[in-house]
């Protein structure tokens, strides 16, 4: 087999799968006028980005149990900047970079840790962040008292960020405009994850995950690549958080919560850990189930159902929904007479 054919197999064909995805994504808001439904889809896009970021770190064999820390750091850093006069673009990028920088430092601490120990440190870090944000007057002042609105979600003034939010300002942009912002941010995240996983960096991540000593013997600098995984993953998490805060019109330390740390894990496991499509499918299904349960009037008891779903998945679909979807698509393509090729995503 020639190199050209290899390139076609490994690089070109997977990207074709994006075309229908992009088309569906672009026309969806035209087909759906229900504002509430658009909101849920935007939330799904957010979770896809956030789960992809967790998935990428897990891809390098490092499972974080406190990813909400970076979501929150991204959200808080960008919000503080934006309400103090920075442009939204600068604010969001700086927020993501701040998360990434903190991620690098935490990564340095975690380089020698594995499995439960890594989980404990990241879990603890997220809890420390809640404490810092809750107790520190610096944050409350920086947010112009925005934190004072915690718990008053029913009476939140959508203008607490003022007009200084620019494109994020509710005055200038209706909420459904966020749809395209999140859609393109999500597509960029998926594409970036895809390119990284298929690149030399992705191979190094996989090698570290499978066998660290072997990876070193392939010439992989373990420390360097573990930190790269932390930097990229926390950047995406911070980016998602930075976009989410203005979309939500308010921000509070709940962003650092255990709930937010565990959501991407549940979603990624549901979809298929270590695959590019896994976080997409997982975020889509779990978020839709979650919101549907909300419509049925459930609140905290949704967690109970989610727990049952997770247990069932681990028992019956330990690799998530992706293998199932691959099977169906392969069967369809066989029936249609197409060559049976592994689904690219």
């Amino acid at each position: 087999m020639g190199v050209k054919e290899l390139v076609r197999k490994y690089a070109v064909s997977p990207f074709l799968a994006y075309i229908p995805l992009v088309i569906i994504g672009l026309i969806l808001p035209l087909a759906i006028t229900d504002d509430f439904f658009i909101r849920i889809i935007v939330l799904t896009f957010f979770y896809i980005m956030y789960s992809s970021s967790w998935n990428l770190l897990a891809y390098s064999g490092q499972a974080s149990l406190g990813h909400a820390a970076f979501l929150g750091i991204g959200g808080f850093a960008s919000t503080i900047l934006i309400i103090n006069g920075a442009s939204p673009v600068v604010g969001v990028l700086t927020g993501a970079l701040t998360a990434s920088l903190v991620g690098l430092f935490l990564g340095i601490i975690c380089v020698r840790l594995k499995e439960w120990f890594l989980g404990l440190v990241t879990f603890g870090f997220a809890i420390i962040m809640v404490a810092i944000v809750n107790e520190s007057s610096v944050f409350i002042e920086a947010l112009n008292g925005a934190l004072g609105f915690i718990g008053l979600s029913g009476s939140i003034d959508p203008h607490i960020f003022g007009g200084s939010l620019g494109i994020f300002s509710p005055d200038l942009v209706p909420r459904d405009q966020y749809y395209y912002l999140f859609f393109f941010a999500m597509m960029a995240t998926i594409l970036a994850t895809h390119l990284i996983i298929k690149s030399k960096i992705g191979f190094a991540f996989a090698a570290i995950r499978e066998n660290q000593i072997e990876a070193a013997m392939m010439g992989v600098d373990i420390t360097k690549y573990k930190l790269i995984a932390f930097i990229i993953s926390t950047f995406i998490a911070g980016f998602a958080g930075a976009l989410f805060a203005p979309y939500n019109y308010f921000i509070n330390p709940e962003m650092f919560s255990v709930h937010n740390s565990f959501m991407p894990i549940i979603m990624t496991i549901s979809g298929g850990i270590g695959t590019i499509g896994g976080p997409v499918i997982g975020a889509l299904t779990i978020n839709l189930i979650w919101e549907q349960m909300g419509l049925w009037g459930m609140s905290i008891d949704r967690l109970l159902i989610l727990g049952v779903i997770l247990v069932l998945e681990i028992l019956f679909l330990p690799k998530g929904l992706m293998p199932l979807i691959k099977k169906v698509i392969n069967r369809i393509s066989k029936v249609m007479g197409l060559t049976s090729r592994d689904m690219p995503l």
């Binding site: 996989a206 090698a207 013997m217 373990i222």
Partner: protein, 231 residues
Amino acid sequence: MLKFENVNVSYGAVQILWDVNFEIDDGEIITIIGPNGAGKTTIAKTIMGLFKPTSGTIEFDGKQIHIAPTHQIVKDGIALVPEGRDLFPRMTIMENLQMGAHTSNEKKETLKWVFELFPRLEERQKQFAGTMSGGEQQMLAIARGLMSRPKLLILDEPSLGLSPIMVNKVFEIVKILKSQGVTVLLVEQNIHHALEVSNRGYVLETGRITLEGASSELLDNKHVKEAYLGM
């Protein structure tokens, strides 16, 4: 090319290698033979930086490598095909090979060369490494080692656990590599075969080099014959 000078290595309190001295020149096939537990694998792992000598120096192409991290040693041009293969079982053959080329910039040419040596791997490149037979896995392990275009290839017990046919194939490959000028350090218990393909050999017993010389001489040596060849 590679030079061990008075190398001592310990696992905790237990000393494994005692004042080991040996040398490999460009283009040579060197074999280290010896019984189980003599420290042969430890030598291989020490070269790769997985164990640090408590004293002594290891020089490779004029560089002191005993202080370097493993990935740097790989970049400097040494590849180890470990005992028991240690492939990435959940990756395909192709992915394993690409993994081997992590430090190399000439993937295409190397891949062509490796597929010429192991045509079987080209046929099966999408198969998962973990689903292959032991012999095929060994071939893949050697191929993966070659993907980094090493100046020195270390083969640790390549014939371990293989059928006689596969053992012959492994040594065939070593001969081909020899004819192509690849420097090989062969760590083996299959002493007869190892001495036949190599230029020189060292006998390692309880962590010390007890004998050295041209392979043909070692094959005739009384001690080697009695202790290892059962003659």
